[in-house]
Amino acid sequence: MKSTKFSELTQEQIDRKWWEIGDFFRRNSLWMLMYCTGCCAIELPPAMTSAYDMERLGMGPMATPRQADVLLVTGYLSLKTLRRLIYTYEQMSEPKYIVGFGSCTINGGIYHDSHAVINQLDRYIPVDVYVAGCMPNTESVMNGFVDLMTLIKNKQANGWIKYKENNDWYKQNQKEALGEVKIKDEFHE
């Protein structure tokens, strides 16, 4: 009886050890998804290119959601974008992280009274790191990425686990804002 318990414990410990090793690789090779949801994306090119060179941190742009680890929500989200963002987020393979850029993702920012822009991003999808500002400087963008790496190291970047555990709550909120989440956009033709 005792021995089985002991072996179970080691299995858990082994899993945790593996997870920590995985965390080392994950935080040193964050691939971000090239999805410019809003205006803060204009500060991403300086961060990606010569001036700040994100690649020295191991970050790089990726073409499709399946390949990416980090989803950058760069700025305000209109309802139309939020719908696509949810599709995109659910396509990404786990573990996945979200960085919210700008005041608009925190509390609506300058568009708090707009009829098309949501006010609070973390009601719809979980956010790991916020970068405040309108628009945030490139330095603070880079700082946000370093913060995300620290969070992964401390095992605090677990938004994707939250999304799985509280899926009903998130789905409920999404439905409140969007009506039906999955729609066909053929009616534009």
């Binding site: 410019c36 205006c39 500060e43 010569s50 742009p61 696509r84 009274d113 098309a116 956009d185 033709e189």
Partner: protein
């Protein structure tokens, strides 16, 4: 042959803004395509009605993300026309410097953006490095890198800083001019890129008139200097010497070529501005501290500036109150972005779709607003 429906965007490395192109392809040829805009819709026109004229200054740069200064200038010019404000002379020259620096930066970004769809990333990195220097100048002049909120009704917010910024700008421009040939070699003189951009994505003259394309797209096709800066000069554009580069055959290459030639002209304009700039005040006080109670006389005015993509205009209606009654934004890329993609993208190949968007200059935030 099987007909496929493909989505170019909103999440796609080839799309530079948050917009989608839905296209039906047969083989590699696009048979039907249309733009799905609205993913950047923030209700700007409604939002501006809800803010006073002074508060709107912080809202307007956000209409077009990549090129915020044209919004500030067009808005300021509209308010000045309505309220009959006389802008101090030094402010006009400073505005021109800002506008031309912004034009260089957006043209560099567009030229570097050519590296995205064609795969020449070295070009992109070099162009963005130079753009970042210009953003640094903006930070020194205005305090912000991207959204400056610098050009306000009645002048500019503050004078140029007193730390030799003019000399630094001139140094940078000389440096950029020296590397101009290098830029051309890396980009539009590059044989592999030429194969992609030469004789594709044509824009004939009758299409220009049908869609209402302005700016570089128009000038590259009609061979006439149709530039707002020349035709109806604002600021002090009638007191500086510059040429408007034109061509009579509009393919992707000639449009990119015109962008590079405009950079040279902009450098010329900035040099003259720094030369001719007088000393003096930079702003007339408008609201005397009562920004919430400042009213603008009744009227309706359409003010235009020449952006990097063409005619960018603000239609403003005031009913004599503190808030604008209606503000309409004419995005410069509205015609080619919506009707152009629907009518003239079919027939090109999938390879060229991203290049189409790029060289026609489609900027999704100003379409959605």
């Amino acid at each position: 042959m099987r007909k496929l429906k493909l989505f170019l965007g909103p999440q796609h490395p080839g799309m530079h803004g948050n917009a989608a192109i839905h296209m039906y392809v047969e083989g590699d040829i696009i048979k039907k395509s249309y733009l799905l805009p609205g993913m950047l819709h923030r209700g700007f026109e409604k939002g501006m009605e809800r803010h006073s004229f002074v508060n709107n200054i912080s809202l307007i740069p956000r209409v077009c993300v990549v090129e915020p200064d044209i919004n500030e200038l067009a808005f300021a010019m509209a308010v000045e026309k309505l309220a009959d404000l006389k802008v101090p002379e030094r402010a006009e020259w400073i505005r021109m410097i800002i506008m031309e620096l912004a034009r260089i930066s957006i043209h560099l970004m567009a030229y570097g953006g050519l590296g995205g769809p064609t795969g020449n990333y070295t070009l992109m990195y070099h162009a963005h490095a130079d753009r970042n220097t210009i953003l640094g100048f903006f930070e020194r002049i205005t305090g912000h890198r991207v959204y400056h909120q610098y050009i306000v009704p009645g002048g500019v917010r503050k004078d140029l800083p007193n730390d030799g910024i003019e000399a630094d700008i001139l140094d940078f421009l000389t440096d950029l001019e020296n590397r101009y040939d290098e830029y051309r070699d890396l980009g539009i003189e590059n044989p592999t890129l030429l194969a992609r951009i030469k004789d594709t994505i044509l824009l004939p003259e009758e299409v220009v008139w049908e869609l209402g394309v302005t700016g570089i797209g128009m000038r590259s096709a009609v061979n006439k200097p149709y530039d707002i800066r020349k035709k109806m000069p604002y600021c002090k554009y009638d007191e500086v010497e510059f040429n408007v580069p034109v061509s009579n055959y509009s393919d992707a290459r000639s449009r990119v070529d015109l962008k590079l030639k405009e950079v040279v002209q902009s450098i010329r304009i900035i040099r003259q501005c720094i030369d001719k700039m007088p000393e003096g005040k930079v702003r007339v006080p408008i609201a005397q501290g009562q920004s919430m109670r400042w009213t603008v006389p009744k009227g309706h005015v359409y003010s235009v500036v020449e952006s990097s993509r063409g005619e960018f205009g603000y239609y403003m209606v005031s009913n004599g109150g503190t808030h604008p009654y209606r503000v309409g934004v004419r995005g410069a890329s509205y015609p080619q972005g919506l009707l152009g993609i629907e009518k003239y993208m079919p027939g090109t190949r999938i390879d060229d779709a991203a290049l189409w968007v790029d060289t026609m200059g489609v900027c999704s935030p100003e379409i959605d607003r």
